[in-house]
Every structure is written in C-alpha cells, then in structure tokens.
Amino acid sequence: MLAYLLMSGIATGALYAMVAIGLVLVYRSTGHINFSHGELFMFGGFIAYTFFVILGVPYFLSLILAVIGGFVLGVLSDRAVYRPLIKAPPLTMVLATVGFSFFLKGIARYFWGSMEGGDYVAFPAAMDPSPIPIGSINVFPQQLLILAGAIVFVVGFTIFFRMTRAGKMMQATSENPTAAYLSGIRVERVYTLTWGAGSAIAAAAAVLMAPMTLLSPDVGFQLLLKAFAATVLGGLGSMPGAIVGGLLVGILESLGGGYIHSGVQDVSAFIVIIIVLVLRPAGLFGVRNIRDT
C-alpha cells in the first residue's frame, strides 16, 4: 500500500513540479507571478485533446503539438498582458493575469466545455492502461510515462539554460536586467521567450496528466494552487525548490489521501501553503525576493 501510494505521489508530484517550474521560471525572470499559469496548463491539455481525440493524431505527436501550442499561447500572453504592464505596480499584474485567467477559462469552456455534455472531457489512455508489475507493486504505464516525460523536460531545460546561448541570456536577464540590457540583450524578447517556455512546460505537464484524470476548464486553478504550494514549500524563486516542493506535495497528498481521508487530497495544498507561509515563508531553499517591490 505504501509503495503504491508513494509511486502515485511521485508521479503526481512530478507533474506538480513541472507546472511549478514554469511558474518559477517566469517569476525569476520577470519578478511577477502569472496567475493565469494554470489556464495555460489547461489549454495545453485541451490542445492535445483536440489533436489526439478529435483529429486522431498519435499521442506523442499531440504532445509535441500541444507543447508548441503552449509556447505560442505563452508568447501571446506576454504580448497581450505582460508587455503593456511592464512598468505597473505588482497589484496590477496580479489583477491582469487573474482577469486573463478567467478570460481563458471562459474561452476554453465555450469551445470545449460542451463537448461531451458537461465540462469534463475524458482523455483516453495513451497506451495500454494495464498495470505493469514492478517488484511488488503495480505501476501504471502512464505513471512511468509521466516520470519519463518529467525527467526529459527537466533535463532538457537544464541543458537549455546552461548550454545554449538563449538559455544563458535568460539567466543573465533574470539576475540583472539592467546589465543584460546594457550588454545588448533584448530584454523584452527574453521575457517573451520565458513566458513561452513556462507555458510550454505547463502544457507538457497537462498532456502527460490528461490520460490519468479528466480534463476540464476548471482544472487550471487546481493545478495553480498545487504549483503555488510546491513553490512556496520549495522556496519562491528556487528552481530545485520547485522540483522538490512539487514532489513533496504530490507525496504528501497521496499519503494523506490514502491514510487519513480521501478528502485530504483537495485540501492539502492549502494547508501546505498556509503552514509554510506562517512558519517559514522562505520555504526550504528560500531565495530572497529577486525583485524588491
């Protein structure tokens, strides 16, 4: 039982970590939390749904298309919402991204909401869903896929950041935008890229998650809360923190749901957030506010 719960927790945790990474990426770079991040996740899922279910495109191709779609959506968000408000106080950004999140949610509900009567759509399994026995536990192939996908993305990201020129530009901009600007880096382009990347990774997470649960327009906010819990636990602004935080939240949820009460799963994210913020706001790997507002 424990092993099963742990496995399940790690798989969901990996997803939370991916979503959290996208959030932290944008935060580290621009100093703002994108409250519509959850909806970018959700849209990614629906884009994949459109390709996979409606158009019959194979799963992995749908995944890639969804990631691209997510990237494009992220870029659009930057242009429509972030760019015009670059100089505004933080409250304005929060409101704008919140408004945008509802806007996206409504659009998703309009286009996909009544697909199968009611808001939830079922994403069929991507592969034979029968569990594979590993050792003494039964592991679902999708869980393995999630873990594999998460690892691929995280590793890919790290490589991108450390090795490629674009990645290094993003790092430089997030550390010191003025210096970056003065050394010729197009800071605004970097921000756009960041938004796109953050959204892309969220979309990937959605597509990996979709076969295991139902997809609905409201799923965005749920995931956003989990991502918040993960980043707050790991320490706002810390990438490794987001990963560790995500895994921990996933595991805690799973264990809580299994051993205490299934309802605990819904509420564990809030509890984590509240406890961490009251006791140790910096989280586990707390990084000081990159931008002092």
Binding site: I33, V81, P84, L85, A88, P90, L91, T92, V94, L95, A96, V98, G99, F100, S101, F102, F103, L104, K105, G106, I107, R109, Y110, G113, F221, L225, F228, A229, V232, L236, G263, D266, V267, A269, F270, I271, I273, I274, L277, V278, P281, T293
Partner: protein, 321 residues
C-alpha cells in the same frame, strides 16, 4: 448642466429610486436591486482593505460565505429571528476576519496574496465538506425571514432591511475614510516606512482594515443567505472572488464611491449574462483585463475627470478657509 451630475445629486436620486423601487418594479428587478445593495456593502468594505490600505488580500469571498453560512444555519437550526441571525453572521465573519488578520499582518505582497487565497480555498472546502454542520456540497435552504409585526412579505422585508443597512453602513464607512484612519491607510499603502516615521502603527491599522472589511463582507453574506433562501458552497467560489475584485477595480480602486459604482455596474452585468456562464467568465475576465490595461483608475477616474463634485478628500471639509 455638469453640476447637476455632481455626486450628491446622483446619490440622492439613486436613494430615491431604490427606496420606491418595490412599488412599481417586478419581483425580479427588486431581487437584482437587492443584490446590488448587498454588493455595494461588500465592495465598500473590500475597497478599504484592498484599495485604501493596499493590502493584496483575498479573504473576502470566504468571509462573505462565513456570514451567509452562520446566519443561514442559525435560522435553519434554531429558528432565530433576523435581528439575531444577521448580526450574529456579521459578527462571526468579523471574528474570522480578525483571526486571519493576525498571521496575515506579517506577510506582504505576493506572500499575502497566496496565503489569503489558500485560506479562501480552505474555507470553501470546509463549507463543502463539513457535512454534519454545513450540509456539505448540497447546501441547505434557509427558511424565509419573518418580519412580523411589520406587514412585510419576506422579499420586500429583506429589501428594505438591506437598503437601511446600506444607508447606514456607507456613510459610516465614508466617515472612517475621511479621518486619520483613511489617511493612515493610504500612507501605509504608499510607504510603510514613511508612515511609521509619522507615528502610524502599521499593525493596528492593517488590523482595522481586515476587521472592518470582514464586518462589511459578513453583513453582506448574512443578507445574501436571506435573499437567496439557499446557501451552497458554489456561491462563494473563485468566481465570487473575481466578481468582488472586479467591482472594486472596475469601479475605481481606492475610491469608496468607485466601489459603489462598480457594484452597481457589475451586478447589472452579472444579471445580463446570467444564462451564459462561459460568457460570464469571459466578460468578467476581459473587463478586469481591460480596466487594468486601459483605465486603471476605474470608472470613477473617468467620472472625476469630466464631472465636478466627485472629489473624495481624505479629510472633513468644513466651511471654506
């Protein structure tokens, strides 16, 4: 001509219209007007916390819910009259407001927002899962208010009750804002350090903001439960939070009368879009986005620019110097 549109005139006309509405309008219009009154109350309170004091906090919808649940449950379980259940609902919500204020006082900016969002969601979860007390996800019906010995049927009764409460609560709020409390709030919003060096106790004044906005939200919630006749968790979800924020932002953040205006505008919009839930979300999200991008000061900023008599000084204006 423009002087005719000064605030005091518009407000006077508004009061008259609201007062005589039940005599000529149908039940649906009265219901919507009643909703507007309730949201005016809520929005005035929220503006104090969010607008004047500048605290990025989201506990409002939850406190609204606490007021509704408390008041509704007292009526349902103990058959208490409205003049006990309403104040009780408001008082309990205020208490909870104070309880969240205590940890919230130490947080600011993003952390505050996250913590209060988490609290709001946790409250919603409690509403929906504490089956033994709150009747869980299904909610419960609230028995209609009994206004005897006054010859009022429940819906007219609740309407006039709401109107009276608003006519009392808004001026009270207006007085608070036009005193050293209002100035202290704006000061701590703009620069906590400077405010402190002027002798302002940040903790105390932030607490005031939380408590007072909790009181307004709780009262509105208590009225809401009586008005709707049913209390379910969905009424206090994330969308409610957005609606509340929209009212304050679209009306004019940091402006008490902007909040009033925003409440009226948004209730109208809500009702117009009632049948199209997805359009509701798109409309509200879009409106919020639009206001923030294009008219950050809200509707009231536009009005202040073109019409005289809409100033909101943070002090009492006596006779001319």
């Amino acid at each position: 001509m423009q002087a005719l549109l000064a605030r005091r005139n518009i407000v006077a006309v508004g009061i008259i219209v609201f007062a005589i509405l039940p005599t000529f309008a149908n039940a649906y219009i009265v219901f919507v007007a009643n909703l507007a009154l309730m949201y005016i109350l809520l929005s005035v309170g929220l503006n104090m916390l969010l607008g004047y004091a500048g605290q990025l906090a989201f506990p409002n919808a939850a406190l609204f819910g606490v007021g509704a649940y408390t008041s509704g449950l007292l009526r349902l379980e103990f058959d208490l009259p409205y003049w006990i259940t309403l104040p009780a609902g408001a008082a309990f919500a205020t208490l909870i407001g104070l309880a969240i204020a205590l940890p919230a006082l130490r947080l600011r900016g993003l952390y505050l927002a996250l913590a209060t969002i988490a609290f709001a969601q946790a409250a919603l979860w409690v509403f929906g899962h504490w089956n033994s007390v709150t009747y869980g996800g299904a909610g419960f019906r609230v028995p209609p208010m009994d206004f005897s010995p006054l010859p009022l049927d429940p819906s007219t009764g609740i309407y006039y009750l709401s109107l009276i409460i608003v006519l009392v609560a808004v001026p009270l709020g207006w007085n608070i804002v036009r005193s050293r409390i209002g100035r202290a709030w704006v000061a701590l919003r703009e620069s906590e350090v400077a405010a402190e060096t002027l002798g302002i106790d940040l903790t105390l004044y932030k607490a005031y903001a939380y408590v007072i906005s909790g009181l307004y939200a709780g009262t509105a919630g208590a009225l809401f439960s009586a008005l709707l006749g049913i209390v379910t968790p969905e009424s206090f979800d994330l969308f409610q939070v957005i609606v509340h924020f929209c009212m304050v932002i679209v009306g004019g953040i940091g402006s008490l009368w902007g909040g009033v205006l925003g409440a009226v505008i948004l209730v109208g919009l809500l009702e117009v879009l009632r049948t199209f839930r997805d359009l509701q979300e798109i409309a509200f999200g879009g409106l919020l986005l639009f206001t923030v991008l294009v008219v950050p000061g809200g509707a009231i900023a536009m009005i202040k620019r073109y019409l005289p008599g809409w100033n909101e000084p943070l002090r009492r204006i006596g006779k001319k110097r």
